[in-house]
Subunit: 213 residues, 2 copies
DNA sequence: CAGTCAATCTTTACGTTGTCTAGATAGTTT
DNA sequence: AAACTATCTAGACAACGTAAAGATTGACTG
């Protein structure tokens, strides 16, 4: 068996290979199936190899999430800088990324599986925040509480919709909606309602519908 | 050792005891520490006992989440029916429940750990949806897309803020906020901005701040 | 160029988990 | 009283995270 092509003892770029393998598993089998051993199998190395590059499972997930934040911020930035950008196009890019990478997006906001103190992760997260602030013309250094309220409002609206959609919580609403309504229709209707606010007689949950039609 | 009080072979109310134990662990050690075996230890029974009452871990978590939804809906309903309820008090109750029961709230929206087909769970979830719809005067049977858009908008706003807060994503914002700003201040500022919408020149992320002050 | 060192990867091992199976125990019904 | 059923225990197994120790390879040093 001399001529047999055997894998070299040193992989050479195992770190990147493991990250690729991890994302493959994330897309194919979901976050619950993404284990250190599964990533090692996918990359064709021994089960203990990943720990040398990421420390522990949290480390691997955190690096994956940090890369996710970088790509996420890039997509939003592109949408915002497009000269033909319409109102809410940043928000649409936010949602589109989550729909294209559902498991990755959910991982990015799963504090219990991530190490928030990791520098690369902190940096990637901060960069996104700056983009969100900049898109509203809010100063990054000394914003007022009102400005922050508006920023958090926009962020919460999009983020909340995104997570409700990914968690399947909107299906029940689509069942009672007019025939043929899609989640995109729902999203656009939500954005439209956010633009034109109407106040009713006793809107204790915030938004009130005008009487009968 | 005749007089020694030994535990009876049959617990009598093990199901409820396990649910109590599970919630104790959830509050004390978080969702990741809530395992079937840990619940069994906490209740003082053998490690395989829980499976007879809940089938598997997903079953236990689903029953716990269903009970959470029931209490959650109750708290919101109480807030809405209070004759002295102010605008947004339903939303405040939503957030308050999540702050009081952070791990339970997160479990309730973790589709990957729950069995959405379980009848008791479906029912509890639907009940909440009805309360949310009713609070806006939206008909439960034939709502328009515009009405659903407003409902989803209010829900997403509150839900998004709640999850961002629980995930610790708002800490970075508080660091740059005026000295002494609390998350409650941020929440109220967000609600205020949702009431008085102002449209700017090119608000591609949705909300725009008026020029200089 | 020979020798040492450090980085990289494998092997082995241990404790914990979910879950399956078989068996023990205790109420309930007939 | 006897059969039946629900409830709980005991033991086992594979998969996981993680730690320790050894093997292999490349790089650096004299």
């Amino acid at each position: 068996m001399r001529g047999m092509k055997t894998a070299p003892y040193h992989h050479g770029a195992l770190r990147e290979a493991l990250l690729d393998a991890a994302e493959t598993i994330l897309k194919r089998d979901g976050l619950n199936a993404l284990t250190l051993r599964a990533a090692a199998r996918e990359a064709g190395v021994s089960h203990a190899a990943p720990s040398h590059h990421f420390g522990d499972l949290t480390g691997l997930l955190t690096d994956l999430a940090a890369d996710g934040f970088r790509r996420f911020a890039g997509r939003i930035k592109d949408a915002l800088e497009d000269p033909s950008a319409r109102r809410w196009d940043g928000a649409r890019a936010y949602l589109a990324f989550a729909i294209d990478n559902p498991a990755l997006f959910q991982l990015m906001f799963r504090a219990d599986r991530l190490d928030g103190s990791r520098p690369s992760f902190k940096e990637a997260r901060m960069h996104l925040l700056e983009i969100l602030a900049e898109s509203r013309g809010i100063p990054a250094d000394k914003p007022s509480v009102e400005q922050l309220g508006k920023m958090v409002g926009g962020w919460s609206l999009i983020h909340g919709y995104t997570l409700l959609l990914l968690d399947g919580r909107l299906k029940a609403l689509l069942n009672v909606a007019p025939e043929g309504t899609t989640t995109d229709d729902l999203f656009e209707a939500m954005l439209a309602s956010a633009d034109s606010q109407e106040i009713g007689p006793k809107p204790t949950m915030g938004v009130e519908v005008h009487g009968t039609n």
